[in-house]
Symmetry: C2
Subunit: 411 residues, 2 copies
């Protein structure tokens, strides 16, 4: 609960530590990450103390509904969904988010109403940074399901949500948003830092040594778990390559790899963003066509996809950080990875081989659990919004200006 | 613009008149109503000065998309929609809303940034006050498209939206919400007032003479323009019965009328709410089956539907205001009507014949344009939310408590 309603949108907000909840459910569609974190001002910087970080699987039927809703491959082949499902998921996710926050509070040993507020990303079901027809005009859009107002009233705690809309309204790509967190919690004065998130999609934040906020760039490099998961599901009926063991047992299929590398997104210059609408099952099927034959071990497909994923991350770093001298190449560069993909040693090892001169580590080294980084981050974005601070980096998203992100619901 | 961010959520908010925008697009799916209104505190009451009230038709392609999206008849027969359409409409409506607010500001002779905030209802595409399956549980939901955050950033003005979610999270029906406005701006000490809104759906607010807020009840009585429009479209290819002239040329078909009256919703005791998911083209078709023959004049269908609409309103008033002595029957009762249906004299005359002892007038008599009442009302709800006042009436919706409604987006 806010100690006084007068604190809102004022410097007073930053005068005391604030206990925040954070919620993320990503494009992997596997479940919800929740965190309880205390944020506070430390000189000119923000600092944090993590109280808890948990994960909650979606009930299978919910995961299925979400997968059906989001499996469109492109504008012309959008899947049909029921508007009732959209309405039900929008509210229903808030009920699951409430459960996740309660669980995170139990683990943190705090009462739910001890939270000042919760930052809720919602579930992206469509991201359309290029215009599509709407009446006499075209419209760029992004859609996250999950209602902040429902969650606020279920928890009795203010909720900030719908973080992406503002940036898109201002001409930005509305993604990625994590760079604000990366900049404030991972930057270094004497080393280049590349914060890497290995969620459904992989994205990087490039922070040259000692850079100001305005110099940071970030973008989606391409697939991360989305394609690996799609390949294990197709060939092994498994939702993930647990511990990277399937990939580790396979070898790279060179023709299949070439087909994957045909996708032009990877080498497109930033700013750029992508999602499940490009890197999905159909993308995998198309690359497999004429390049994979049933006699070949299925492990080879998973390995190739894993190596492709590592390559796509590394290729973006080589082109848009190193070769163009965006970072100071005389200084050491540290890749700090978060996201579920950090649990896949086959992927992490491939990345280290791709970028031998750089240190590849995980956010765990900085007290930020690699699996729960995004949940912490949306708690941080809510902390900024309630303090009246912008949450986007126009240098990253291409928006016309900084914006206080999200909408605020008071229970 | 807010004069100071510190005013938010405090009594200071009410210390000065606040110039608000209001936006509504109703279940008729014909377009957007926008208003600019100054609200202020007048003793213990709220008062208003209307600055402008305008209507904007949807571009035909948008109206078609919305109609396709919402024409489901029930849970088992939900229409399929594209998730891209949902995403595009969610953002695209905000662009149209921005245009409507700008137009209303021009008519009011004020700059857009002179508005303190805008209250935006959004477009209801589904309303599901009974539970449907979601994972291992059931969920009640309501879905309004249109993003407050997008609109706030397009206008550069704070926007309050998503007014219905909170009440539903608290166990309420999330409808109707207009009674809060009716109570504050139409109540009388010495007469019973029944505020009637003739939008797509008809709803009434019953305010016994001198009643406290807690005694007010309100509910959807059944169809209003939805069925009349469906009948003119089917038989005459016209979106409305302009001036009620088609209905006026017809006669009541008694068997068809009986089929319409078979619908049990009309006599169901309140609280209750309904929408396009019940009173739609399929409802009309079903009632026509076996009761209407091509040789009969099509005007008779429109007349019968018009009389049925008036009857359904009156029957609810007779049962749930008069016969149960909810109002003081020794005092005069005044029906104050708003909504597009007030432009249909065939409907209004039918209502006067149904309720001969009551006065039937329109909100125009109180300085509130009958066509623009709901837009004004959502400006008022935003005014309440920003002052930290509840916007729902638990006696009306069945919610477990009063709630500050909506989510707030700051540009």
């Amino acid at each position: 609960m806010v100690s006084s309603s007068r604190d809102w949108f004022s410097d007073l907000w930053f005068s005391a530590p604030r206990l925040m909840g954070g919620l993320m459910s990503g494009t992997s569609l596997d479940g919800i990450d929740a965190a309880v974190v205390e944020f506070y001002r430390n000189g000119d910087n923000h600092a944090m103390r993590l109280k808890s970080s948990i994960a909650l699987d979606f009930p299978p039927a919910v995961a299925e509904t979400l997968k059906a809703m989001t499996k469109a491959t492109n504008i012309d082949k959008a899947e049909s969904v029921s508007i009732i499902d959209v309405s039900t998921v929008h509210t229903g996710l808030s009920h699951l988010y409430a459960e996740a926050v309660r669980k995170a509070c139990v683990q943190a040993g705090v009462a739910v109403n001890a939270l000042e507020a919760v930052g809720m990303h919602g579930q992206t079901v469509w991201h359309q940074p290029t215009g599509v027809g709407f009446g006499e005009t075209t419209v760029r859009s992004t859609l996250q399901l999950g209602s902040p107002s429902i969650l606020a009233n279920l928890l009795g705690v203010p909720v900030v949500g719908d973080f992406r809309a503002a940036d898109m309204a201002l001409g930005g790509q509305a993604a990625p948003l994590a760079p604000m967190f990366d900049y404030h919690f991972l930057r270094k004065a004497d080393e280049n830092v590349i914060a890497l998130n290995l969620g459904g999609i992989a994205n990087i934040t490039i922070i040259p040594a000692g850079a100001s906020e305005e110099r940071v760039i970030a973008f989606d490099t391409g697939p991360s778990n989305l394609l690996i998961d799609a390949s294990t599901l197709k060939f092994f009926g498994k939702r993930y390559d647990t511990g990277g063991s399937i990939g580790a047992a396979g070898r790279v299929l060179s023709r299949f790899m070439e087909a994957l590398k045909d996708e032009p997104y990877i080498t497109l210059p930033p700013p750029k963003s992508t999602g499940r609408e490009l890197f999905n099952k159909e993308f995998l099927e198309k690359a497999l066509e004429y390049t994979y034959f049933d006699a070949q071990p299925a492990e080879d497909v998973v390995r190739t996809v894993t190596e492709y994923t590592a390559w796509s991350v590394a290729e973006n770093i080589r082109r848009f950080a190193v070769e163009n001298n965006f970072i100071d190449n005389s200084l050491h560069t540290r890749i700090i990875a978060g996201g579920g993909g950090t649990n896949n040693p086959c992927l992490m090892d491939a990345l280290r081989r791709e970028l031998p001169d750089m240190t590849v580590e995980t956010t765990d080294a900085y007290g930020i659990p690699a699996d729960g980084k995004e949940a912490i981050f949306f708690g941080y974005l809510a902390y900024r919004t309630l303090g009246g601070l912008h949450g986007n980096l126009p240098s990253v998203t291409g928006a016309s200006r900084k914006a206080v992100l999200g909408s605020i619901s008071i229970p």
